[in-house]
Symmetry: C2
Subunit: 351 residues, 2 copies
C-alpha cells in the first residue's frame, strides 16, 4: 500500500469499526481487553499513526505550545532563555506535546502572531518569557481568552490584578542564600554589583543581598554598584570596589557577565582568590570556573506545564478566573560553587 494507513484500514484489518480503533487510542478503558489487543496488533502491524491534522480539525486542539524566541541576545545571559527553550521541548515531548517557535518585532507584533497561530488551531497555549513592568501581553491575552503561562512574575500591581498563571525564580532568595553562604565561609564584607534600579528582576536580586549582607546602610551604599549588564561594566565596577579603603572580601553579581568582569578585575588587582558569584550559571561561568546561582529550569518548566495542562495530560485548562486555587509558582534557585582559579593560570609554565 502506497498511502499511509488510516483508522479505516486498521479497523478492517482488526475486524472492528473505525470508532473502536479510535477508542483504543483515546479511551482504552471503554474497550474490551481482547479487542484492544487485536486492534493494537493491527496498528503495529500496519504501522498506523494517527494523522495529527485530521485529529486537530475535529477536536480543535493541537497539543502544541508556542514560544517566542527573542532576537536581542547581546548579553551572555540571553542563554537562559535558550536553555529554557530546550528544557521546554524535553518536557513537552515527554507529555506528547509539540513546541512551535516564532519571532516577533515587538509586543504588538507578538500578539498579532499569537492570534494567528491560535486561530488555525496551530497552537493551543503559549509561554510568555521575559515579562516586564506594565506588560501589555498579559492583559491582552487574558481578555482574548488565550491560554498562557508567563515565565516571570507580574512586576506591577496592575498586572498582578489580572489573574493569570505564572512561574518565576525567587532571585531574592537565591542571592540571599549565596550571601549567607559566603559569610558562613568567613566573608565579612560582601559586595554587590547589580543593574540600575527599575528592573524588577534586578531589584529583587539586590534585595536578597541587602537582607543578608549584615552591614549598615552606609556600608551598603559603599559596597554596592549599579551598572548596565556587561563584562566591561562589571570589571570596572569591581575594580572600584576593590580600590576602596575597606574593600569587599567577596562579591555577588546580578549576572554572569558582571561576574566575569569582576573576576577578571580581581585577578588584575592581585586578588585571584576573591570569591565572586554570578547569576544564571551560564556556560561561560562553567567554562571559567565561576560560582553562580542556577535557575532550576527543569522545575520551572515542569511547573509551567502543570499550570497549563494539569499534572498530566495534554488538555489545556482555560485561563483561571478570579477565585480559584493558586495559579503561580515561585521556585528557589541553587548556588553552584566552583573554585576560583580553576582557570589554572597559575599552573602555566612561565608564570
Amino acid at each position: 500500500m502506497s498511502r499511509m494507513p488510516t483508522v479505516d484500514d486498521v479497523a478492517q484489518a482488526a475486524g472492528v469499526s473505525r470508532q473502536t480503533v479510535s477508542n483504543v487510542l483515546n479511551s482504552p478503558e471503554i474497550v474490551r481487553e481482547a479487542t484492544r489487543q487485536r486492534v493494537l496488533e493491527a496498528i503495529s502491524r500496519l504501522g498506523y499513526r494517527p494523522h495529527a491534522s485530521a485529529r486537530r480539525l475535529r477536536t480543535r486542539k493541537s497539543a502544541t505550545i508556542g514560544v517566542r524566541i527573542d532576537p536581542w541576545r547581546d548579553g551572555i545571559s540571553g542563554a537562559v532563555l535558550d536553555r529554557f527553550l530546550h528544557k521546554l521541548t524535553e518536557h513537552a515531548d515527554a507529555r506528547g506535546l509539540r513546541v512551535m517557535v516564532f519571532s516577533a518585532a515587538d509586543p504588538d507584533d507578538e500578539l498579532a502572531r499569537i492570534r494567528r497561530l491560535r486561530e488555525g488551531s496551530d497552537v493551543d497555549a503559549f509561554v510568555l518569557t521575559a515579562t516586564t513592568h506594565g506588560d501589555e501581553r498579559i492583559r491582552a491575552l487574558t481578555e482574548q481568552g488565550v491560554p498562557f503561562v508567563a515565565f516571570g512574575r507580574p512586576w506591577d500591581p496592575e498586572t498582578s490584578a489580572v489573574r493569570h498563571r505564572w512561574v518565576d525564580v525567587d532571585g531574592r532568595a537565591g542571592v540571599a542564600g549565596a550571601v549567607r553562604h559566603l559569610r558562613e565561609q568567613g566573608a565579612r564584607r560582601v559586595g554587590w554589583i547589580g543593574w540600575p534600579h527599575g528592573s524588577g528582576t534586578g531589584d529583587e536580586r539586590r534585595a536578597g543581598w541587602e537582607a543578608e549582607c549584615g552591614v549598615d546602610a552606609d556600608a551598603r551604599a559603599a559596597l554596592a554598584r549599579h551598572v548596565e549588564d556587561g563584562v566591561t561594566e562589571g570589571s570596572r565596577a569591581a575594580a572600584e570596589l576593590l580600590a576602596l579603603p575597606e574593600p569587599p572580601d567577596a562579591i555577588v553579581c546580578a549576572s554572569d557577565s558582571l561576574a566575569l568582569g569582576a573576576m577578571i578585575a580581581a585577578r588584575t588587582a592581585g586578588r585571584p582568590a576573591l570569591p565572586v558569584v554570578g547569576f544564571d550559571d551560564t556556560p561561560v561561568a562553567a567554562a571559567v570556573g565561576l560560582s553562580s546561582i542556577e535557575q532550576p529550569l527543569d522545575d520551572v518548566v515542569a511547573a509551567a506545564l502543570d499550570l497549563l495542562f494539569g499534572p498530566a495530560g495534554d488538555d489545556v485548562r482555560p485561563n483561571p478566573s478570579s477565585d480559584e486555587e493558586p495559579t503561580d509558582r515561585l521556585l528557589a534557585p541553587r548556588l553552584v560553587e566552583r573554585r576560583p582559579g580553576h582557570l589554572a593560570l597559575d599552573a602555566i609554565p612561565g608564570t
Copy 2:
C-alpha cells in the same frame, strides 16, 4: 458570532461560493478583480483566518519546518545553533512558514521523532544541524523521501555520494582570511589553537591557517596546539605557545572559547595587546572585545530555505535526484575586528 468564521461564512457574506473564497486566497489570478475585492472585503470585515489544520488535512502540507535543538553543549559555541534557530524563525516567518522544534536523545531517536512529525503532516521538511562524519541521518532521510536540508557539509565520501541539499560555512576560507589579514597588519608568526584531528569542521579551519601562515612545516608544528574545546584548555595552550623561544605574535583559534582562554593567558603573560582571533562571534566575544570570525547565518538560513522551497513560496521541493542542478551552498564567513584591551582594565583606578 461565537465561533470563528469559515469559508462558508465569508462566501455568504460576499455573495459567492466557498470555492471562490478559497481561490481568492490560493489562486487570486483566476478570480475576476471585482469579485476578488468583494471577497477580500468580506474576509477582513469578518476577520476570517483559514483554519490551518483543515487546510493541511486536505493539501497534505503543513508549511512547517522542523529543527532539532540540541541538549545543552557546555561550550560557549553552542550559541551558534541558537542564533541559527532564531534567524531561521525570522526568515521562515517572512515566507509564511512555521518552525517546530523538538529534542532527541540520539540520532536514532531523532529519526524516530522526525518520522512521527511527518506522518501527521505536522512538518513538511527538516533542517539537520551539526552533521558529523558518517552521519546516518542523511542516508536514512533520503531513503525515506523526507525532504531536508543539512546545515553542515557531508564529511565523508560515503555521505557525499548520497545526493542531498546542504549549506555550510567555509571555515577554511574564513581562517585563511583572518591569518592573511593579521600578516598584513605586521604579524610574522601566527599561532593556531584548534581541536584534536578528526572533526571535519576543525580540520577545515586548521587547513585555512596552514595555507596562509607562511612558515615551514617545522615552524607550523611548533606554532600549533590541538586541544579539546574550552576556556581552560585554550588558556593553557596559549600559555605554552607564549613560553616558546620564538613565541607567536598573533593567535587564531578554532572557537571563541579557546580564544577567550588565549586572551586571558596573553594578559597574564604580560602581552595584553597580542591579537587573538576566535570563531563564531559569540556574545562572549563581543562582551570581552575579542576579534572573531562570524558565520553569515542570515545567508546560511536564506540559502537553506531557497534549497528547500525554491526562491520564493512555501511548496517543498522533493529531495534532489542524482542529476540535477547544484544542491549545496558554501558561504564565506567574515572577520569581525575588535580592539584587544577593550576590557578597559588599564583604565581602572588603582591599577
